[in-house]
Amino acid sequence: MSQNTDLLTLRSVSKSYGTVPVLHDIDLSVRDGEFLTVLGPSGSGKTTVLRLIGGLEPLTAGEIRLDGQDISRMPINKRPFNTVFQDYALFPHMTVSGNVGYGLSVRHVQRKEIARRVAEALELVQLGRFADRFPAQLSGGQRQRVALARALICQPRLILLDEPLAALDLELRRQMQEFLKSIQREIKTTFLFVTHDQEEAIGMADRICVMQAGHIRQLGTPHELYYKPNCEFVARFFGENNLVAGKLGPVQGEQRPIETALGRLICSISGQPHLKAAPDGASAFAAFRPEALHLADSTDGDNRFSGTIADLAFAGSSTVATITAGADTAAQRLRLRTPSRIDGSALRSGETVSLSFAPHEGHLVLA
C-alpha cells in the first residue's frame, strides 16, 4: 500500500445548482490509503465535493477519475465507494445486522457469507452484542459505528464520511475520532472525511484540504497548514493566529521583511517560492502564532515591538494574554500564549511590555 499513488483525481470539477455556482474548477487528488480531511466553514462546498465523488449529485463540468478511469458518469450504485451519512441514514425497519449486511444482500451474496462478514464487521466496530437491535434502540455513538460497519463491509476503495461526528457530544466525539483513525489504520482503506471542525481535522488527517466559497484554498499536511498557510483565509481559519498587515520589502535569502504598523518584521519564506516571487511593496500579512510571541529579552534583535496587556485569561495548561500593540491610530490586537505556572503568571494586566517573535517562527501570507 503506497501512499504515493493517486486513487482518485478530480479535474476542473465545477458544480452549480441552477445558476448558483457552488464549486469552481476544483482539482484534487486523493492518495491511496490516506486519511484525507476536507475542512471548511458551512457553505464552502465541502459536502458537495463528497456528494459528487459518491455519485449522489451529477457534475456540472470536469471529470472524476478512479485509477485513471473516468467515472464521472458511473451511477452511484456501481461506484466502489461507500458513504457514512451525517444523520447515519440507518434503515429504521432493519436490525443492526440487516443494515450492515444490506450492501452484500443487494449484490446477492450468499446468506452464510453475509452472516460471516456481518459478524466480522460488527466485531471490528465492537458491536457484536447489538446485532439484533433496531437503530432506534442504539445510542448516537453506536449508530455511528453501525453506519461505519455498513460502509466498510463491501470493501470499498474509498469511504466517504460526511461530518459523521457532528451530532455527538464532545467526549464521545473525541473517542470516535481515535476510533475512526484506528479503524482506518487497521483496514488500510482510504478515508475522505468532511468536517467544519479544524481540531477534528488536525487530530485525524494525514492531509487536509481547506475549502472556502467553492474553492480549494490549500491542501497539505496539518503541519504545513499550521505553519505555512498560503493565504489569509487558511492562516485565520486554521488555529489561532496573529496577522499584521503591511507591505513586503526586498527578499533577504530565505527571509523577507514586511513593513507594518509594528515596524519592520522579518519572516521566514523558506520553501514558499510564491513569496519569493511576489513584488516589493505587495500587500501581505505577517503571521505568527500566539505561542511564538514572547516577552523580549536582550538577545532578541529583530521583530521587537511594545504592547499593552489588555486582558489575561487562564486556560488551564496555558495562559492567553490579549495585547494591544502599535500606535493608537493603527492599534493591533495580538494574542500571546504562555505555559501556565503554579505561582501565577509573570504578566500583569495593564502592563506595557516589550514583545518579540523569532523570524523563523513568523511567516507571510499575501493579502
Binding site: I76, N82, T83, D87, A89, F91, V106, F134
Partner: protein, 266 residues
C-alpha cells in the same frame, strides 16, 4: 391550561359529560335492544336474550349486504392504497403542478358527497357504465383517495432523504431500493391509510345511494329497511359493527403512530 377555579372546572366537566352522553346515546340504544326486548318504548330488563343474534345469523338479506359491503371495502382499500401511494410517491419532492392536482384529489373529500355522487352518476351515464358494484367501488375510491394520499405523503415527507441515498450508495438498484427501503418504511402509513379507507367505505351512504346498482351495501340496505322499521336482529348487527369499529379505531391509532416514536426510549 392554567388552573381554573373549581366551579368553572365543574361546569366544563358537566358539559363534557353531557356531550359524551349525547354522542353515545344513539349507540347505546341498539346495543341495549340487542340483548333485551323492547315493547312500547320500554326496555324489559328482566330477560336478557341472544335471540336477536340468532335471528341475524338467518337473515340472508342482511348477510348478503354485509358481504357486499366487505367486498366493496376491500376493493376500495386495494385501489385507493395502490393509487394513493403512487400519487404520493409521484408528487413527493415535485413542485410543478403538484398543488393543483393535489387540490383536485382533495375535491371529492371537501365537496358535499351529494355533489361528488351526482357528478359521478352523470359521468358513468355519459361513458355508458352501468350502475353496479364497480361504480360503487370507483365512487368510494375517489372519496377516500385523499385520506390515503395524505397519510402516505406525510410519512414520505418525514422520511429522511438520505435513506434512499444510502441504499443506492450501498449498491442497490432502483427496484431494490423501492422494495426493500421505501416500501417497508411506508408500510405502516399504508396500513393506517387502508384502515381509514375501509372504515370510510364501510359506512359510506350518500355517494353509494347515488351510484349503486341493484346490489346494495349494508348502509344502503339499512336505509331502505329503516322506513319500514327495523327487525330486532338489526340491533344485533349494529352491536357487532360497533365492536368491530372500535377495534378498527384502535388498530388505526396503532399504525398511524410511527414505529420509531413508539420504540424510541430516549
Amino acid at each position: 391550561m392554567n388552573a381554573l377555579p373549581r366551579p368553572s372546572t365543574i361546569f366544563l366537566a358537566v358539559i363534557t359529560t353531557l356531550v359524551a352522553v349525547l354522542l353515545y346515546s344513539p349507540l347505546f340504544v341498539p346495543i341495549v335492544s340487542s340483548f333485551f326486548t323492547i315493547s312500547h318504548g320500554d326496555v324489559d330488563w328482566s330477560s336478557p336474550t341472544l335471540s336477536t343474534y340468532r335471528a341475524l345469523a338467518e337473515n340472508h338479506d342482511i348477510l348478503a349486504a354485509l358481504r357486499t359491503t366487505l367486498i366493496v371495502g376491500l376493493c376500495t382499500v386495494v385501489l385507493s392504497v395502490v393509487s394513493g401511494t403512487l400519487l404520493a410517491l409521484y408528487y413527493h419532492g415535485r413542485r410543478s403542478g403538484r398543488s393543483i392536482l393535489q387540490f383536485i384529489i382533495f375535491l371529492p373529500f371537501l365537496m358535499p358527497p351529494i355533489i361528488s355522487g351526482l357528478a359521478l352518476l352523470i359521468f358513468f351515464r355519459e361513458i355508458g357504465l352501468e350502475r353496479s358494484l364497480l361504480t360503487v367501488v370507483i365512487g368510494h375510491t375517489v372519496f377516500v383517495l385523499a385520506i390515503v394520499y395524505r397519510t402516505v405523503l406525510m410519512r414520505l415527507q418525514s422520511m429522511s432523504r438520505t435513506l434512499v441515498e444510502a441504499s443506492y450508495d450501498l449498491g442497490a438498484t432502483g427496484w431494490q431500493t423501492f422494495w426493500r427501503i421505501i416500501l417497508p418504511n411506508l408500510s405502516s402509513a399504508m396500513v393506517g391509510g387502508a384502515i381509514l379507507a375501509f372504515a370510510l367505505s364501510f359506512d359510506e351512504t350518500m355517494i353509494t345511494i347515488l351510484v349503486t346498482g341493484t346490489q346494495s351495501t349494508l348502509p344502503v340496505r339499512l336505509w331502505a329497511m329503516m322506513r319500514l322499521g327495523f327487525s330486532p336482529d338489526i340491533n344485533a348487527l349494529v352491536a357487532l359493527i360497533l365492536m368491530f369499529t372500535v377495534l378498527l379505531c384502535v388498530l388505526a391509532a396503532r399504525f398511524l403512530i410511527p414505529r420509531q416514536m413508539a420504540t424510541e426510549r430516549s
